[in-house]
């Protein structure tokens, strides 16, 4: 027709517009919202806690690149899922995990937990939790180090407690005495002889052991925490992995995840709700001398349950991982309730003090079954 150059139009099939969201945006937002919790953990545990974080993220990214090259696929670290796995793996590791252990975990998480199944979207189990389970079984002493927060670094928590009318040091002492298992006290020359690091059993381990000695030397159940102890647990006064100490930060991160429509509110609410309800209602076992006794019904320390262990991390970041959870809303609610039940079961009656990791892994296994049961009804079909 005319001498102008031919303009080429795109002839792809409809729809010709797309929603602005993308997998990369979802993953990077999740990673971003995990950062406050990890920063809080750095604050509590000191700068040394950066080691497992950096090591696990680096190992995950490297493994993903190598596996993609091996499988002749384009490198997929750009979609952000390996970064999220690395950060989550760090969140479930203790602060003094050696760099090589975190790296091994990262390689396992991505290499076996994700790429061996076919890459993003094909894995059955949450890779970070799978790696944690692997590390717990193969390196139990490293994973159970249960380091306590650095008292000096957490001094502003102490001031806050003071302002609230409590006494952080006093509560800490009480908690320590209840634990009865302060195993290591290491002294740091930089702190001119002050206590640098304390290790001891976490609140859940104490609940498991459940035996304590009060000031008068009487054996009492360790399950009647008062408000100070609960806030103490929530704000990271207790030991645990990097994610466990930041329950408050994780709730904030989780809130923004829901607000940005990255996850839906169903799973966290149903998961936490089930844990809270069962944690309140069920009788908790505790050891009285040589025998086990049970507290009564409706006497459980549900707030302590909510604030301890990786429950917040699990409810907002692990159990909401899209790949390993059911497809439909109804299915996800069933999944969340199942996770809650398993968590309480494991915490109360099973050999491990921490139930969230295995509860979620167990429910991941049930996901195909849940999917088959909760298929939506097709419009117009009986």
């Amino acid at each position: 027709m005319s001498a102008e150059e031919k303009i080429l139009f795109n002839v792809n099939n409809s729809p010709h517009v797309r929603d602005g969201d993308s997998t990369a945006r979802i993953m990077f937002t999740v990673a971003l919202l995990l950062v406050p919790a990890l920063v809080w953990a750095l604050f509590i545990f000191g700068w040394r806690a950066i080691v497992p974080i950096v090591s696990s993220v680096a190992a995950c990214l490297l493994t993903e690149s190598v596996c993609c090259r091996w499988r002749d696929r384009p490198n997929s670290i750009g979609d952000g899922s390996a970064l999220v796995t690395g950060l989550l793996l760090a969140a479930v590791s203790p602060a003094n995990l050696p760099w090589w252990a975190a790296a091994v975990g990262g390689v396992f998480a991505i290499g076996i937990g994700k790429q061996a199944f076919g890459g993003l979207g094909h894995n059955v189990w949450n890779p970070a939790l799978l790696a944690r389970a692997f590390m717990q079984v193969s390196m139990p002493n490293l994973m159970m180090s249960g380091e306590w927060p650095h008292l000096g670094g957490a001094s502003w928590i102490g001031n806050l407690f003071y302002d609230l009318g409590g006494n952080f040091t006093e509560v800490n002492e009480r908690v320590k005495s209840l634990a009865g298992a302060v195993t290591t006290v290491s002294r740091s020359f930089a702190n001119d002889g002050g206590v640098d690091v304390l290790t001891g059993a976490t609140v859940l381990a104490r609940m498991k052991a459940a035996e304590a000695v009060d000031a008068a030397g009487q054996i009492i159940p360790a399950l009647n925490p008062d408000w100070m102890e609960i806030i103490h647990a929530w704000m990271g006064g207790e030991g645990g992995s990097l994610g466990e100490v930041s329950a408050l930060m994780l709730v904030l991160g989780g809130y923004f995840l829901i607000e940005r429509k990255i996850i839906s509110w169903d799973i966290p609410v149903f998961f936490l709700g089930t844990v809270a309800v069962l944690g309140l209602v069920l009788p908790h076992p505790y050891r009285l001398g040589e025998v086990y006794a049970y507290t009564g019904w409706f006497q459980g320390p549900w707030l302590l349950h909510l604030g301890s262990g990786g429950l917040m991390l699990g409810a907002f970041f692990m159990a909401t991982d899209m790949v390993t959870t059911p497809l439909t809303v109804k299915g996800r609610r069933i999944f969340a309730v199942g996770c809650g039940c398993m968590t309480i079961l494991i915490r109360l009656f099973a050999g491990y003090p921490e139930g969230v990791c295995y509860a979620i892994l167990f429910m991941n296994t049930c996901v195909p079954f849940i999917d088959t049961l909760t298929k939506p009804k097709v419009f117009g079909k009986k």
Binding site: N10, V11, N12, R18, G121, M322, L327, F379, G380
Partner: protein, 442 residues
């Protein structure tokens, strides 16, 4: 208000550019190319000799069989020859090229007026068939066939589709604002043709002007048409979803609206029906919304059937350099065109010049479940996409691929940018092709 239909998505409406632009006729084109196949069914066969002078409204092609429609000259002038035009689906169709002599003379057979009260149901159907009216929402199904349901299916409700749920399009909106009386009279005629006792117009809430105009016109005419306000959601205008939202009736899978006693018609078809019955005008022009970020002067135009896109877009300030995609229809279900060498037809209600980059590298399915929430039919689009990618036809039939209405909600919401609906279309095409081969063997 009755329950909303399940699923759906909310693409940004983007109707501001033309929502307040009144309808006006497009500039007279130098020639038109009226295709013989602008409808579902057998192409019509040409009647006119080359070199003959034809008048506007003159029948230039006769329908072949019942499921077919005649074609009429949309301008007066000399018939120059039969050309081959590209149909959006890729094949070539024959069309009659008529040079426009500018006189716009109507053929005497095309201006016979009727008294609407004197017309019986059979007369209405005949007039509609002779006028070559087809479904003008895009489906292009011959309207007289729709108005002749089989004896065992009785229709009690006529639904007027004023949803116009696709972004950018405002053709039906302006038609309702400016010609509500014609539409309502057309609806009364169609209702008479099928014996429907109730007429309901569904209008989305983003068209308050249209709703107001239709309400006033209905009151004025005293015709008892109910105006039903619809929440804004895509694909509200899809037949099954519209019927469910307004009446709560569920069209069975594999069935048609007449199975639940309903008939759905587009506003433009109703206007054309009135025009044909009252004034005897066959279908020679239609409203088209020409818009998009790549269009300098977006407008709602009365376009003669067969106007070449190159002539039409010149008038609207088409920016070829900025445009990445030229779409006939809406952005969710429209057909992309590769150049400007095609003619407008009875079914195209919009022309969009889109400037967004449209090439997406798609990732694997991350099982987020958004497509399942978005699917109006309750299918599992992620599963269908995996079956399509792997070529598993039997599994996709079991997963109800044939129920898909191809609305595109799943592809729209997918964060991995998977071309889900394209895979489903491929599966459906393959299944139908194999079924045809099997049937031919028998």
């Amino acid at each position: 208000m009755k329950e909303l239909f399940r699923g759906g998505c909310h693409p940004p409406e983007k109707k501001d550019a033309t929502a307040d632009s009144p309808l006006r006729p497009a500039k007279a084109p130098p020639f038109v190319a009226v295709s013989f196949s602008q409808h579902i069914g057998k192409p019509s066969s040409p009647l006119v000799k080359i070199g003959e002078r034809v008048l506007r409204g003159q029948k230039i092609a006769e329908s072949q069989g019942f499921v077919s429609a005649p074609a009429h000259a949309s301008v007066s002038g000399v018939a120059k020859g039969v050309v081959q035009l590209r149909h959006p689906l890729g094949f070539l169709v024959d069309a009659l090229k008529i040079e426009n002599d500018g006189k716009d003379e109507w053929h005497p057979d095309a201006v016979i007026e009727h008294d609407l009260d004197q017309l019986a149901a059979g007369d209405i159907r005949k007039l509609v068939q002779e006028a070559g009216i087809v479904g003008m929402g895009g489906a292009t199904f011959p309207t007289h066939v729709k108005l002749s349901p089989p004896k065992d299916k009785s229709i009690d409700v006529l639904v007027l589709n004023g949803a116009e749920c696709e972004p950018y399009l405002t053709a039906d909106d302006r038609l309702m604002i400016e010609h509500p009386r014609e539409i309502l009279r057309g609806a009364a005629l169609f209702a008479k043709a099928v014996g429907a006792s109730r007429i309901v117009a569904g209008i989305e809430n983003n068209k308050p002007g249209a709703r107001q105009a239709m309400l006033e016109a209905a009151r004025e005419l005293g015709c008892g048409v109910e105006i039903f306000p619809l929440p804004v959601k895509y694909p509200q205008g899809a037949e099954k979803q519209l019927i469910y939202s307004i009446l709560g009736r569920t069209v069975p899978s594999g069935g048609l609206p007449m199975d639940v006693g309903v008939l759905v018609h587009n506003m433009a078809s109703l206007y054309a029906g009135y025009d044909a019955c009252r004034f005897g005008h066959p279908l020679t022009e239609r409203v088209v919304t020409v818009t998009g970020p790549g269009m300098g002067n977006p407008a709602n135009l009365w376009v003669r059937i067969g106007t070449m896109a190159s002539h039409l877009l010149e008038e609207c300030g088409f920016d070829a350099g900025a445009t990445k995609k030229l779409v006939v229809g809406g952005p969710m279900m429209g057909m992309p065109m590769r150049d400007l060498e095609w003619a407008t037809s009875k079914g195209g209600n919009g022309i969009l010049a889109l400037t967004d980059p449209v090439a997406y590298e798609h990732g694997p399915c991350i099982r987020c479940g958004r497509c399942i929430e978005a699917c109006p039919l309750g299918l599992l689009p992620c599963a269908l996409s995996n079956y399509g990618e792997a070529g598993l036809l039997a599994e996709s039939i079991e997963a109800n691929a044939l129920d898909c209405i191809e609305c595109g909600c799943c592809s729209y919401v997918c964060p991995s940018k998977r071309p889900i609906v394209q895979w489903v279309r491929m599966e459906k095409a393959e299944i139908n092709r194999l079924r045809q081969l099997a049937a031919a063997k028998k």
